[in-house]
């Protein structure tokens, strides 16, 4: 009879998520994530500029299809992500604890992340009705303004909370039809990689969400300067970083959204204006008459 100690558990290799696949970083570089006692939890990919560019290519390729998916379908897929996360709730709680979260907080955070996905799943087919308009122009035209996704969004996720912060910012961007390249929390990158597995199991088309891990100070300038990125959402960064981001973003007039200092655990931190931040307003004119 074999005892428990006879079996060696299979440890997970934490990789990045690009175009629906889980490659290692092309750089071949890693950083060791340690727990409080200095034990190595995982070797985390230190993504490079090349990884980021590959991710942008995937995001761009996926964007028109995702934007064209019906709002109902996007909502169902977001709901599906929540279902998958719920199914792996214990794993995420354990992983957060491993990365240093107290038990109670890890539970609350995981539950809030699931609920936040449901919240935005519900918005997918409603924000348009709240934010669009039929405009009563004086001439004989039918004129209306609708929201359209801005395109490819580069997202610097907040460090804390590692899982909920990611979900709270990713969900509104994709609910609105954008595709995303995301840099995970530097403090808690493991949750982001595991979340990519959840996405992968949730009918999210390849390329819609791409998740990188690595050093923010190495990657921020690339996120901000890439010419095929339409918007950058930065949840971390002091004045100096904000200056760098906006200076580089101006090269192609990116939409720059700073969301520093938000407590993502509060109910106020969930609202449809987060969706609107990465939307464009398109106005269409059509004559009335023959």
């Amino acid at each position: 009879m074999a005892g428990a100690a006879d079996r060696i558990p299979v440890a997970k290799t934490y990789k990045i998520y690009i175009d629906g696949k889980f490659p290692r970083t092309e750089s071949g570089r890693y950083f060791a994530l340690e727990d409080k006692k200095g034990r190595v939890l995982a070797n985390v990919c230190r993504s490079s500029r090349k990884d980021f560019r590959n991710a942008v290519v995937a995001a761009r390729k996926a964007q028109p299809g995702w934007a064209k998916a019906s709002a109902y379908l996007r909502g169902q897929i977001l709901y599906r992500i929540a279902e998958m996360l719920e199914g792996r709730r214990e794993q995420f709680i354990a992983e957060l604890k491993l990365q240093g979260s107290p038990a109670r907080q890890a539970e609350k955070e995981t539950d809030a992340a699931i609920d936040r996905l449901i919240y935005f799943a519900g918005w997918a087919d409603k924000y348009q009705q709240v934010f669009s308009a039929v405009n009563p122009v004086s001439s004989s035209h039918f004129n209306f303004s609708v929201l359209e996704p801005t395109g490819v969004v580069a997202l610097l996720a907040p460090d804390e909370p590692g899982l909920l912060g990611l979900v709270a910012n990713l969900a509104p961007a994709i609910a609105g039809g954008n595709t995303v390249v995301l840099l995970a929390s530097e403090a808690k990158p493991l949750s982001a990689v595991s979340f990519a597995e959840v996405l992968h199991a949730s009918d999210v088309p390849p390329g819609v969400v791409n998740i990188l891990t690595g050093y923010r100070n190495e990657l921020t300038s690339h996120f901000a300067s890439h010419m095929d990125v339409n918007a950058i959402v930065a949840c971390e960064g002091g004045r100096k970083a904000r200056r760098e981001i906006q200076t580089l973003a101006a090269e192609n007039v990116k939409r720059v959204v700073f969301r520093r200092g938000t407590d993502w655990t509060t109910a106020d931190a969930a609202n449809p204006y987060l969706i609107r931040d990465t939307q464009e307003v398109k106005t269409t004119w059509h004559p009335i008459g023959v």
């Binding site: 709240v130 405009n135 001439s139 004129n143 801005t150 339409n230 100096k240 200056r243 398109k282 106005t283």
Partner: protein
């Protein structure tokens, strides 16, 4: 090119007697100071520059050149008015002031129209029928929002930003002032506005109206000058928000200059709009739309339909008809009610347009330019279009901001859409077809903030305007134009 049968010959056989707009009701002072804290004051710089009539090259007035000290004063006045009066005023009362401005523009519409045409060179028909009435309508529209802002932001309370710095262009001087001022004021902000160097007069006339309307001093400050005055406003630490309309090049400089500050900003920048004509369009209407799209206001329009895409099967017909129609356009005295195309706004702009006419030919394009005489003095450009150009040509990619159209053809819907979107710009677009489903597929596909179907260059205060991509960010006009001047918070 074969002329289709049964078309009229346009051989310049039509002559019109001049019908000039009177200017005896117009008062232009010899010299204008800066409008700061409710009165016209001399600039601390002691310097003035000329504003000229581009149709005659004659000086209309001397205009104060604001330096950093003047901008300091204007911002201080705006701050005082914000915290002392305007920011605290009952919103409904704020609205009444703005309604009053709208009414007074209507009363002085004839004067505004004439001054606009004198200072900027645009045809009086356009000043009279488009710029001035739309400016009044814009104030009237936003006035009514002042006490209803809560309804525009469901689930969120909003408050004004503070002092707004606004820098506007020379192509629609009064209208752009209205687009900037009306929503800013309605939302409870105070303003420092800089009109363009070549067209300051209607903004200064508007300052007179604002004073006559009794607005508290400092709520609106108008400082004239060139690029350095604009830069002083952008960089001023006392300004909470920058609203800019102008070139993409300057827009990027501004976005960079604001990096690391907490100032919010909206940018309305350049464009290179695709105007797409399908074979099943009503061709004669489409030709009128093409003409309006590119030759309206001498092509000094950021949303001008400057790239024409015609479906191959009707390309010869469209080009022939466009050529005929172009020959009938009357270029000349902006004050003449017959005039279709007025004066080019400045010598600098004329040089730039003429350079592009050369560049386009050097790149291999065929230039078609209307014949006819233009006045000896003044800045003029006869309307023109290029055929035989391709996507990579500069005249196809770059904003010319003049009466010059680049024509290309396409075969399939997808080809048209791909070509239309092959530009860093995304301000506007147009589609001409008889098929409703095709219209909406195209208007959805074009990456631009305003898309006109079977029409072009239509504007309305209720209709949001602004760009995708490098054509800028934020919207002006309509419900969505309120965002630019408010932030969350009780």
């Amino acid at each position: 090119m074969a002329r289709p049968e049964n078309t009229l010959a346009f051989d310049g056989g039509w002559e019109y007697d001049p019908a000039p707009e009177a200017t005896d009701h117009v008062h232009i002072a010899a010299r204008y100071g800066l409008f700061i804290d409710g009165e016209f004051v001399r600039p601390a710089t002691g310097r003035y520059f000329d504003t000229i009539n581009p149709a005659t090259e004659e000086r209309l007035a001397r205009i104060a050149r604001a330096g950093t000290e003047d901008v300091d004063k204007a911002v201080a006045a705006a701050r005082k008015a914000y915290s002392g009066v305007w920011g605290r005023m009952k919103p409904a009362e704020r609205g009444k002031y703005i309604f009053r401005i709208a009414r007074m523009i209507q009363e002085r519409a004839r004067e505004f129209a004439a001054v606009e045409s004198l200072d900027g060179g645009k045809p009086i028909r356009e000043s009279r029928d488009v710029d001035v009435p739309l400016a009044a309508a814009h104030f009237f529209y936003y006035a009514g929002w002042a006490d209803k802002l809560g309804y525009a932001f469901p689930g969120r309370s909003v408050k004004p930003l503070g002092v707004a710095g606004q820098v506007i262009p020379w192509n629609f001087p009064l209208l752009m002032a209205a687009w900037k001022l009306a929503p800013a004021l309605a939302c409870g902000n105070t303003v420092v506005l800089k009109p363009a160097e070549t067209t300051p007069l209607t903004a200064l006339k508007l300052a007179e109206v604002i004073a006559d309307a009794g607005l508290p001093p400092g709520v609106v400050n108008i400082v004239t000058g060139a690029g350095d005055t604009g830069a002083a406003i952008v960089e001023h630490p006392g300004v909470n928000k920058i609203a800019f309309t102008g070139s993409t090049e300057v827009g990027k400089i501004i976005q960079r200059a604001l990096a690391g500050t907490n100032k919010s900003y909206t940018l309305e920048l350049g464009g290179k709009a695709a105007n797409i004509v399908f074979a099943d369009a009503a061709i004669d209407q489409a030709v009128e739309g093409i003409v309006n799209g590119i030759f309206f206001n001498q092509g000094h329009v950021c949303c001008a339909g400057s790239r024409l895409f015609v479906q191959e099967s009707v390309a010869d017909e469209v080009v022939a008809k466009l050529k005929d129609r172009m020959e009938t356009l009357i270029v000349g005295d902006p004050l003449d009610k017959n005039t279709d195309i007025g004066a080019i706004n400045s010598k600098m702009q004329l040089d730039k347009i003429e350079e592009y006419l050369k560049v386009g030919q050097a790149e291999g394009g065929t230039l078609h330019q209307a014949g006819g005489r233009v006045p000896k003095k003044g800045y003029w450009c006869r309307p023109a279009f290029f055929t035989g150009v391709s996507q990579s040509n500069r005249v196809v990619q770059e904003e010319i901001f003049g009466p010059v159209l680049a024509i290309q053809t396409f075969r399939t819907f997808d080809e048209a859409l791909e070509k239309a979107n092959n530009t860093p710009y995304g301000l506007s677009g147009g589609v001409w077809t008889d098929k409703g489903a095709k219209i909406f597929r195209m208007t959805q596909g074009v990456r631009a903030g305003v898309v006109w179907a079977n029409t072009f260059n239509k504007f309305d205060p209720t209709s949001p305007f602004g760009g995708y991509k490098e054509s800028g960010l934020g919207r002006e006009g309509g419900l969505h134009g309120l965002d630019a001047y408010l932030k969350p918070g009780a």
